[in-house]
């Protein structure tokens, strides 16, 4: 910065930096998190009709009796299902290489000999196995979702299902339930989380104890004899975790691996003999499918996208396929999502809506010719529906419904065109070819001439379309556009650089001007400043560790408390005992102790985090002690919040009428909040639309917003004192406005937060008041250090209110207080306000802080500066501190997320954390905007009035 930084220039550069950051962030988010273009709803009978024909969805399908629905599906599909029972055996973490070998070679002898029965099934042609390529992240839950829904899930759809892990999309199990299947689940409890209440019987085991490789499978197998004797189920899911645990503890070549494979082989043998061979044929047939959700690396880990991890198994036992040689039964490739359409078509249910898989070719061999083509046609229609959602409708213009019903439309004769051009056109063309060939085969089937040749051509054409379409759809959901990511990251980096440069240039100006040069280095690089920077560094480093992200609240509390202790140290250091203790020192030490105690209470209020949530904390203790204690806490907190807030308001401006009105409004609000709490909180969950509660809440919102905004707008105009400096008066006003903001925000949080959180809100208010006492009396700690500490305290308070870095802790219940009709935007805003209560509170306290600084500043009789300079130094600099910290953290975390994109926990830990980081960014923007607007408005109004009065005097 060669030229002098003016206020306008600073504003323009800051705003530009922020916009750059917003743009970069949105580009990155949309690049990194695949936004899956999903179709909502559940496939029904309309899936058996051509997608281009507008058919009214059968609305009363859900009321049809399951058995009738099953018959309806069977009739519409035209495919008779040979199977009535399905056993799905999931072996967690089994690489297909163990069973099927690799690159056409049979598996190693140690693995082959461990599974004699499975190998014999493969050799006899009773079983057919596939290398089913799994999509990353190769972690159990997303893989199970992919297997049953056929969709490659995005992350954001997980994020938007706030509290539930249940799979809400259209899926196979839901379809089975609709046709009246009874399902039994044994094994990994992930299934129960995904499908709560769906299973007739279930016994879940936890995947938590990785060291346990034996009992976890025994718990599954112990039910097996009973279940195989039972005849009341249609779907039996077995999910064995032991092999994954063996891998995690000892890797692929663990000595336990052979015995574990033998155990699995015995189970396959039992099921094959008991459920399929022994069962008499009049009862229908059972299909046994052995799948694994993902593979494992040499060391037994998984989560990434290497061949070893994505090479999962799909083994069909009991399909009467005509494959008889070993190589034909083992050397097949498929995708994991292909299981969904294959099972749907084999068992006569509609293919789930968002499936991108295609029929596994070998599964059709037992069907008759027309059934095979029909199955492929249904699969193609389903994929075409999905494509329709993503492609412009003009591409489908050449088709019409009639073409397909009657087979007669222009340019749609028997010509098969060579498909070329861009991908989308090529897809349409391939589909057309397949449809045409299918039509030809149908028409010629009646004449019985050259049926085999036409059949094969139609089959090939369908397979060509399905393969291309599936790949295209899958790439649409998983591809990470490098260009977008690079653009986003570089934009964020640039904005980070802009912010830091602005900050540094202002920093030079603020600290180099009045101070003498000798002690400046010592002054700037003091202990607290170094510590604040070290905290930033520690945070950035700790973000790379998944457990540190999970337990982030410890870091914040530890750092903030250490900062308090450093302040204490500094205060003690500044004492001089020769003059004895002065009252100022005692005052300061008292404030610091208040900060320490309230900080520790806040830390203990909610245990937080992920791993140690079961530890007792104050909130659990209070809730166990009984609801009345919580109510008392709420009552006391509310009274104290009102008392402290009004006291702070009156401390500066008790003589003003507007302040009295404001205080009156806030008191009214406080009592309304208490009324709301006492009268409506208990039955809030029973009656969701309680009129009285809603009206009370609305009145509170109204009074609060009028008091805060109106006060901020009106107060600066009521300038009376003519003898004081301009800056001092503005400081007074800002102090009053700031305290009104804080009080308003605390009252709002008392209304919105859970009752148990009223204690922490009081403690946070106390902290803010203690800091304002400290900063108004203290000139030793640098301004930027104090503001950074306020930001850190805000984050510590964020976790103290029970938030964590998982999406599960977001308080959804409070987001509907005072909203009469369902509105996503309003309740979203309320949810944001609840979640970011503490960071916003501390940002709002900046108004008060700046006011206090201005008052102190005026004591130096330094009031000849012009408005722009004043705004730049007293407003721009404080506002830049949180922006800088936030942009550095955002930038660092973006890089961490990029580096961790193949990490095991990228979806469960790092991505939710990234969403929180984005929301914190928004929160910082909002807070800084409010602060900047308020301070700028107040300062301009006061200077305007002052110039006017001076003109009058002149």
């Amino acid at each position: 910065m060669s030229t002098e930084m003016t206020c306008t220039r600073l504003t323009i550069l800051t705003v530009a930096g922020i916009f750059l950051q917003i743009i970069g962030l949105s580009i990155f988010v949309f690049g990194f998190f695949p936004v899956k273009p999903t179709l909502s709803g559940v496939s029904g009978s309309e899936s058996y009709l051509h997608p281009l024909c507008d058919s009214e969805p059968n609305t009363n399908e859900s009321e049809i009796h399951p058995e009738k629905l099953r018959l309806l599906y069977e009739e519409l599909s035209g495919i008779s299902s040979r199977y009535d029972r399905l056993i799905l055996m999931v072996i967690d973490g089994l690489p297909a290489e163990f069973v099927l070998g690799k690159d056409g070679q049979p598996p190693w002898n140690v693995w082959k000999e461990s599974m004699p029965y499975t190998q014999s099934l493969l050799a006899n042609g009773d079983a057919i196995g596939y290398h089913a390529k799994a999509a990353p992240p190769t972690v159990t839950m997303p893989r199970l979702k992919a297997m049953v829904s056929g969709a490659i899930g995005g992350f954001l759809d997980v994020a938007f299902n706030f509290n539930t892990q249940a799979l809400l999309d259209d899926n196979l199990l839901g379809q089975f339930l609709r046709i009246g299947w009874k399902m039994v689940m044994l094994g990994d409890e992930t299934w129960i989380k995904l499908f709560p209440g769906l299973f007739m019987r279930h016994d879940g085991v936890s995947s938590f104890f990785v060291k346990d490789t034996v009992q976890v499978d025994k718990n599954v197998s112990r039910h097996l004899p009973n279940e195989l004797n039972n005849d009341d189920w249609n779907l039996l899911i077995l999910h064995y975790l032991g092999l994954d645990h063996v891998g995690h503890t000892g890797g692929r070549n663990s000595p336990l691996m052979a015995s574990k494979l033998k155990e699995m082989d015995d189970i396959v043998r039992t099921m094959h003999l008991r459920a399929m061979v022994d069962r008499s044929h009049d009862q229908g047939q059972t299909l046994l499918i052995v799948v694994s959700d993902h593979g494992m690396t040499e060391s037994g880990n998984h989560g990434g996208s290497s061949y070893e991890e994505t090479d999962s198994l799909m083994l069909f036992i009991g399909l009467s396929s005509n494959i008889s040689d070993y190589a034909g039964a083992t050397n097949n490739l498929a995708f994991q999502v292909d299981l969904t359409p294959s099972l749907a078509l084999l068992f006569g249910v509609p293919i789930p809506k968002n499936n991108v898989g295609v029929l596994v070719p070998g599964t059709l061999n037992s069907l008759r010719d027309f059934e095979q083509l029909r199955a492929l046609e249904l699969n193609s229609w389903q994929l075409l529906r999905l494509m329709q959602a993503q492609l412009p409708s003009s591409l489908f213009g050449s088709f019409s419904c009639n073409c397909f019903l009657e087979g007669t439309c222009e340019g749609f004769g028997s010509d098969i065109s060579e498909c070329s051009g861009d991908k989308e056109k090529q897809l349409i063309c391939l589909f057309r070819n397949a449809a045409v060939l299918h039509g030809i085969w149908k028409s010629k089937k009646l004449t019985k001439s050259s049926a085999v040749e036409d059949f094969n051509r139609a089959l090939d054409a369908y397979n060509a379309f399905l393969k291309t379409a599936s790949e295209w759809l899958a790439s649409k959901t998983t591809e990470k556009p490098v260009l977008l990511l690079g653009l986003g990251v570089s934009a964020m980096f640039l904005s980070c650089v802009v912010c830091v440069t602005l900050f540094l240039s202002l920093f030079k100006e603020v600290y180099n001007g009045p101070k003498d040069q000798v002690c400046s280095l010592n002054y700037l690089l003091n202990l607290e400043g170094v510590f604040i920077l070290a905290v930033l560094l520690i945070l950035v480093i700790s973000m790379g560790s998944s457990s540190m992200v999970e337990e982030e609240h410890y870091i914040w509390h530890f750092m903030v408390s250490t900062f308090y202790l450093l302040l204490l140290f500094k205060t003690v250091k500044s004492f001089s005992f020769s003059r004895g203790l002065n009252s100022l020192g005692e005052y300061k030490i008292g404030s610091i102790f208040l900060l320490l105690i309230s900080g520790r209470l806040l830390r203990g209020w909610h245990q937080g985090g992920v791993n140690w949530t079961h530890f007792t904390d104050i909130s659990k203790w209070l809730e166990q002690a009984g609801g009345s204690y919580v109510k008392w806490i709420q009552l006391i907190s509310s009274f104290l919040v009102i008392g402290l807030g009004v006291f702070t308001l009156f401390r500066t401006g008790s003589k003003r009428k507007s302040v009295r009105i404001q205080a009156f409004g806030f008191s009214i609000c406080g009592f309304l909040i208490l009324l709301h709490a006492w009268r409506y909180q208990d039955d809030m969950f029973e009656v969701s639309t309680n009129d009285g509660a809603t009206v009370t809440a609305k009145v509170i919102y109204l009074i609060l917003s009028i008091s805060a905004v109106g006060g901020a707008l009106v107060l600066p105009w009521s300038m009376q004192k003519k003898d004081k400096f301009l800056v001092a008066i503005a400081g007074d006003y800002l102090y009053m406005i700031g305290s009104a903001y804080i009080l308003c925000w605390c009252l709002l949080q008392l209304l919105l937060q859970q009752p148990i959180n009223s204690g922490p809100i009081l403690l946070l208010l106390i902290q803010i008041l203690a800091v304002s006492c400290l900063s108004s009396k203290d000139v030793q700690v640098n301004e930027w250090v104090e503001i950074a500490a306020l930001y850190y305290m805000g984050m510590a308070g964020h976790f103290a209110l029970g938030n964590s870095n998982t999406l599960a802790t977001i308080d959804v219940a409070g987001a509907f207080i005072g909203i009469s009709s369902h509105s996503t935007i309003l309740s979203g805003i309320l949810m944001f306000m609840i979640t970011y209560a503490s960071p916003l509170l501390f940002l709002l306290s900046l108004v008060m802080y700046i006011g206090g600084k201005l008052r102190n500043h005026s004591l130096l009789a330094h009031s000849d500066t012009d408005l722009g300079q004043l705004l730049k130094l007293k407003l721009g600099f404080p506002c830049l501190v949180p922006l800088c910290i936030n942009s550095i953290l955002l930038m660092a975390y973006t890089v961490v997320l990029l580096l961790m994109r193949n990490h095991l926990f990228v979806w469960s830990v790092f991505s939710p954390k990234y969403l929180y980081v984005c929301a914190t960014t928004v929160c910082t923007y909002v807070g800084v905007c409010i602060v900047a607007a308020t301070v700028a408005y107040t300062l301009s109004v006061t200077s305007f009035l002052r110039s006017k009065t001076q003109q009058l005097v002149d």
Binding site: S547, L565, K573, N611, T616
Partner: protein, 281 residues
């Protein structure tokens, strides 16, 4: 050799044990008043501190400890070796006499550690006390016992404010940990400096130690505190190791920091000489 040493010290430990046990409840009962006695001596001793300043310049012998409390680097090394040896003895006693270690039984081990280390530290540092003419050795011992309790209270407060867990099952651990920390940080200072707040302020807050003995109480004490601070870092991680429990890794960190502090203080003594002020702040 080790056997006999251990025996003698375990006997001593028995002598001191009950006394220490009696002290244990004291922080609880005296908590409220403990805040007050600390500033009180400052007013009475404030003048005394100023008088001491005048007497500070004394001649020193080059080997070991001189009668007036100044000490050479060799002597400091000797003192460090003894204190380190008795920390080792504490661990040894805990392991072979009580078959306990820090992980399996932290309270007992910590108790053994501090109760074995405390008399050694008191005796050594009381001999090195300032102003030996005016202050008898027994007075130094007495004030270091007071220093032990109040230092433990300060350490416990610091640890709790930084997030040490509160609860019935953690109370003994916290108490014994804070006593150990007090032995490492406060006791040498109380034994040497007494209740002179001016000296405390100069040594600990302003970090301007004048003599070797002040380096010896300043640097290891800060080392122990900073080491303990860093030792708390692995606690929230989900590695499921037993040593992640409070206060085990903090103890490791504190003792490690103490030893590093001792080494650093030796380096300071050797490098800076005796008459230069350390400029840290």
């Amino acid at each position: 050799m080790g056997q006999t040493l251990g025996l003698t010290w375990s006997k001593k430990n028995i002598l001191i044990g009950p006394e220490a046990l009696h002290q244990d409840p004291r922080p609880k009962t005296d908590q409220d008043q403990d805040q007050d006695p600390r500033p009180a001596p400052s007013r009475t001793d404030g003048g005394g501190g100023a008088r001491k300043e005048a007497k500070k310049k004394k001649s020193e012998t080059s080997i070991g400890v001189s009668s007036n409390g100044s000490i050479s680097a060799v002597g400091a090394l000797f003192v460090y070796l003894i204190t380190g040896l008795f920390l080792g003895v504490g661990v040894w006693v805990a392991r072979y006499k009580f078959s306990a270690d820090l992980v399996s039984d932290p309270s007992l081990t910590l108790f053994l550690l501090w109760s074995i280390e405390f008399p050694v530290v008191v005796i050594i540092y009381s001999c090195l006390r300032k102003d030996p003419e005016r202050c008898s050795c027994s007075k130094a011992v007495g004030r270091s016992i007071l220093g032990l309790v109040s230092g433990a209270f300060m350490n416990a407060l610091g640890a709790i404010s930084l997030g040490a867990p509160i609860g019935a099952q953690y109370l003994p651990k916290t108490i014994h940990w804070s006593f150990l920390m007090s032995v490492l940080t406060f006791v040498p200072a109380t034994a040497v400096l007494g209740a002179s707040l001016t000296d405390w302020h100069r040594v600990f807050a302003s970090m301007k130690p004048n003599e070797n003995i002040e380096y010896m109480i300043l640097v290891p004490a800060y080392g122990a505190v900073i080491g303990g601070w860093f030792g708390a870092w692995p606690m929230p991680l989900d590695w499921e190791r037993p040593w992640q429990e409070w206060p085990i890794c903090v103890c490791y960190g504190a003792i490690g920091g103490y030893i590093v502090g001792q080494i650093v203080s030796l380096c300071f003594m050797l490098l800076l000489g005796k008459d230069k002020n350390l400029k840290v702040a």
